[in-house]
Amino acid sequence: MLALEEGRYVSERLTVSKVLDEAQRQLDEFDPTTSGAWPHAAAALIRQSLERTLDVFWNDKAPGMLETSARDRWVCLPAYLGDKPEAREADFAWTALSNACHHRAYEVGLTQDELRGHLATARDFLKTVARALA
């Protein structure tokens, strides 16, 4: 039901890295039909990937954590993964993306560069977690 890589959990329709590829496509390709909506779409996809990666980790280490709040799942992460910069960056990116995914009357959305940064963070985090679970 959860997947990190294609083939490991075949029930999942899209793997995390495929979701990230889709986010990348949103950033790279100009599609007139998504004009104006693509930053929001990309942000949602990246955030989704981060959450899935995190949940895959907890599912393996302490499935009880999946019952707690998303905040707690991030805060407790270093206790199992170690105080890794990749984890810190992922937490940071997730918070920023969460803010961007919610409607804020005055706040301007994330820029393309910022989104690319978060995308890279998500890929690094995926790698770090995959290594920790291997």
Partner: protein, 773 residues
């Protein structure tokens, strides 16, 4: 001259291909002309408290208490809360002025005292020196006085002066106000002016100035000598042969000083004309008496001669000879010629003898008169010598007379007139000689002086060239040194900028200090989207702010600055959210070795700091009615960890196995954060290297290593931590350290121990803080 700079310069010099003389010029100038070394003896200083009363938004005394150690303190307060009054109060107290109020209309500074305060305005700051002693700084303004009122300035000024801080304030201003943030780049020369003394680069400028001065002095002398030469050449008489020679020697582009010297050495008589003139002026002419005597003599001789010549001298001589011969040949009384006998008797002999003697005397007298006459004639002739006779021709040649002059001397009167004419000629010649001689003498004197000067210039010509070469080399070397010395600041600023710029397409490539004329400016090589064009103009307000902070922080971090604190007022305004995150990181990095105090009006910066889990102290400023200002400390990182531990220690909050790991992790983080604070504070107080302290903290991998730093000042002694904690604080705390380690490394603690862990940790930290200071 700054000794380090001097060494750097001389090293470069020895590797340069400069001529020895030019090298020497720089060495001498570096030793002599440079100002005496400025020894920086002002002691490093931290900020302990700022108390403000009756100033702007603050009425009753309010105190901002700070930790006098490296670390980031964020003072948060809504607009109008009075937070900026602390920042500006401190700036006013330390510098005697407010950057924000400079060049503003009077209305800005008129209402500077608090409207709700009727007493005097008082600002106090406590500065802490290494070793922990405190230096108070206080200034008071009477109620109603303008802010520039100097009546109370003497006291703080004296304290600042006593420690040498007043000298360092212009270079290392530890204040960055919002108004300054925006205007930092308005005048690019101000940054150069501020940074040049910091880097000791003023010495290079002074060195260049001293070389330029030497060159100008040489040049001025050279030009003066050339001008004087022109004047001398103009004075040379083109008719005068000597002058022509002198002109030939020095008139050209390159004066032949040797030839001139030779000309001046030689006697002045080396031209025909002057010899002639001299001869004419020195003509020997007879006096009136001499002429008269000579002519009288001649008359007497002529008369005697006329008298004597009445006799026939030759006949008398012949007759006398004949008689003498007749007397000699007489033999008897008979005449041998006519044979008349007896006529040549004794009487005849007697008469013949008498007659012969008389005839002989007559002939002698004539001969005498003749020779006397000749002599007298010769004397008259000799009245005018050859020179005198040649004088008319000479005088005409010299231009003293125009017409030919005939010397009449037929008689005494004519001779006298001629001599008179000649005497006039002589006088004319003498006058002319004197005129020419005096002018020449003057000229010779001037030429000699000029020659000396010209020789000096000639001798210095190579020195002048050396100075010019030295100047050229120094300019290049200075540019390089300037760049080198400034590179750390530039690099650090660039690193800050890269952190801060986030989404900005503007990249900062280099900041260089450039010397322009007598001043200089800071050049920012900022490019938008990698175009070569300078992009200062296209930068947004927020980007300019970020750039200002980027440059300000490295300057504040310089070792040369005695100010270990830096106060930044509201850098967050106009910044994008992403930049605020970058700012938090940049400020935090600067706070590793400096006490960074940031005032901000909203929650974005504290929020970013919390999110990024950066170490910082948060203070909240609130302004109540009547301008009463409150300062409250927000939760410190240590407190936040403890609170987190307490929260997660509650039952059912997390799966138990996760709880067993997370709670010790938070507790351990709390101890580590507290330990890091202790190590930094200690380094600040003892004046040890703050970078080293920061590195030690960063390198301490485990809790035990961190504690070993606190207990022994040596992370390597982590093995002794347990025993030392037991000895100093008791066995329960030694057990706590073990529990913290165990729990965090996946050895589950029992429920009881886990629930008590946060409180025990809190108590342990308290012990560490009281004991380890």
């Amino acid at each position: 001259m700054d000794p380090v700079l001097r060494t750097l310069l001389l090293e470069r010099l020895s590797e340069s291909g400069l001529e020895p003389e030019a090298r020497n010029v720089i060495e001498v100038a570096a030793d002599a002309a440079a100002p005496p070394p400025t020894t920086n003896t002002s002691p490093p200083v931290w900020l302990k408290t700022v108390t403000v009363e009756g100033f702007r938004g603050i009425g009753k005394p309010a105190t901002l208490t700070l930790e006098p150690a490296p670390g980031l303190t964020v003072v948060v307060g809504r607009n109008g809360s009075g937070k900026s009054s602390f920042a500006e109060g401190l700036e006013l107290l330390m510098t005697g002025a407010l950057k924000r109020w400079e060049k503003r209309p009077k209305a800005w500074s008129e209402t500077w005292q608090c409207l709700h305060h009727l007493g005097p305005t008082r600002i106090t700051a406590e500065l802490e020196l290494e070793g922990g002693s405190t230096v108070p700084l206080t200034q008071e303004w009477p109620h109603g006085a303008p802010y520039g009122d100097a009546s109370g300035r003497a006291a703080p000024a004296a304290v600042l002066n006593e420690h040498g801080w007043d000298r360092d304030l212009p270079s290392f201003r530890p204040f960055l106000a919002y108004a300054e943030l925006a205007t930092m780049f308005d005048t690019l020369s101000s940054l150069y002016d501020a940074l040049t003394p910091v880097l000791g680069l003023g010495d290079l400028d002074a060195l260049a100035a001293s070389l330029a001065q030497t060159r100008l002095a040489y040049d001025a002398q050279r030009k003066q000598t050339a001008a004087e030469k022109d004047q001398l050449v103009a004075r040379l008489d083109p008719e005068d042969e000597r002058a022509a020679l002198v002109k030939a020697a020095i008139g050209g582009r390159k004066p032949d000083l040797e030839q001139l010297d030779q000309l001046l050495e030689e006697a002045p008589e080396y031209t025909e004309d002057l010899t002639l003139l001299r001869r004419l002026a020195g003509l020997a002419l007879p006096t009136e008496t001499e002429i008269r005597d000579a002519y009288q003599d001649l008359k007497g001789a002529e008369r005697e001669y006329t008298d004597a010549s009445a006799t026939d001298a030759s006949r008398a001589t012949s007759v006398a000879t004949l008689l003498r011969q007749a007397l000699a040949v007489r033999d008897g009384e008979d005449c041998p010629v006519c044979k008349t006998p007896g006529v040549l008797d004794d009487a005849w002999v007697k008469a013949a003898q008498e007659e012969a003697a008389e005839l002989e005397a007559q002939a002698a007298t004539l001969t005498q008169a003749n020779s006397k006459l000749l002599l007298a004639r010769r004397r008259v002739d000799a009245l005018l010598d050859g020179n005198a006779l040649a004088a008319p021709a000479a005088a005409k040649h010299l231009g003293l007379i125009d017409e030919d002059l005939t010397l009449e001397r037929g008689d005494e009167t004519e001779t006298k007139a001629t001599v008179h004419t000649l005497r006039e000629l002589t006088q004319k010649a003498a006058t002319e000689l004197e005129r020419k001689g005096a002018a020449w003498l003057q000229l010779v004197g001037d030429l000699r002086r000029w020659l000396e000067q010209a020789r000096d210039v000639e001798a210095k010509a190579s020195t002048l060239k050396a100075v010019k070469d030295a100047e050229k080399w120094l300019k290049g070397a200075s540019d390089e040194l300037r760049r080198e010395r400034f590179a750390p600041i530039s690099q650090s600023a660039i690193a800050n900028w890269r952190e801060l710029r986030q989404g900005s397409s503007v990249d900062l490539h280099e900041i260089t200090l450039k010397k322009v004329g007598k001043g200089g400016r800071a050049d920012f090589d900022v490019r938008a989207d990698d175009t070569e064009a300078n992009a200062l103009g296209v930068m947004s307000q927020g980007e300019l702010l970020a750039l200002s902070v980027s440059v300000f922080l490295p300057r504040a971090a310089l070792d040369e600055s005695p100010f270990r604190f830096a106060v930044i007022d509201d850098p967050v305004q106009a910044m994008d959210p992403a930049k605020v995150d970058g700012l938090a990181k940049v400020l935090h990095r600067a706070a590793r070795t400096r006490q960074i105090v940031v005032f901000t009006h909203d929650d974005r910066l504290p929020e970013a700091i919390r999110r990024l889990r950066l170490d910082a102290t948060m203070l909240h400023v609130d302004r109540r009615a009547q301008s009463t200002v409150d300062v409250q400390e927000s939760r410190s990182p240590v407190q936040r960890y403890i609170d987190g531990a307490r929260g997660y220690a509650k039952p059912d909050r997390l799966p138990p196995e996760v709880q067993a790991r997370v709670v010790p992790m938070f507790c351990r983080s709390a101890v580590e954060a507290a330990a890091a604070n202790i190590v930094r504070r200690r380094a600040a107080q003892h004046g040890t290297d703050l970078n080293e302290a920061d590195d030690q903290i960063a390198e301490a991998r485990s809790l035990r290593e961190t504690l070993a730093l606190v207990l022994f000042g040596d992370a390597g002694r982590h093995g002794e931590v347990g025993g030392e904690v037991k000895r100093r604080y008791g066995a329960p705390y030694a057990a706590l350290v073990t529990e913290l380690n165990r729990g965090a490394h996946g050895n589950p603690l029992d429920r009881e121990t886990l629930s008590r862990l946060p409180d025990n940790t809190r108590a342990f930290i308290r012990e560490l803080n009281t004991n380890a200071k």
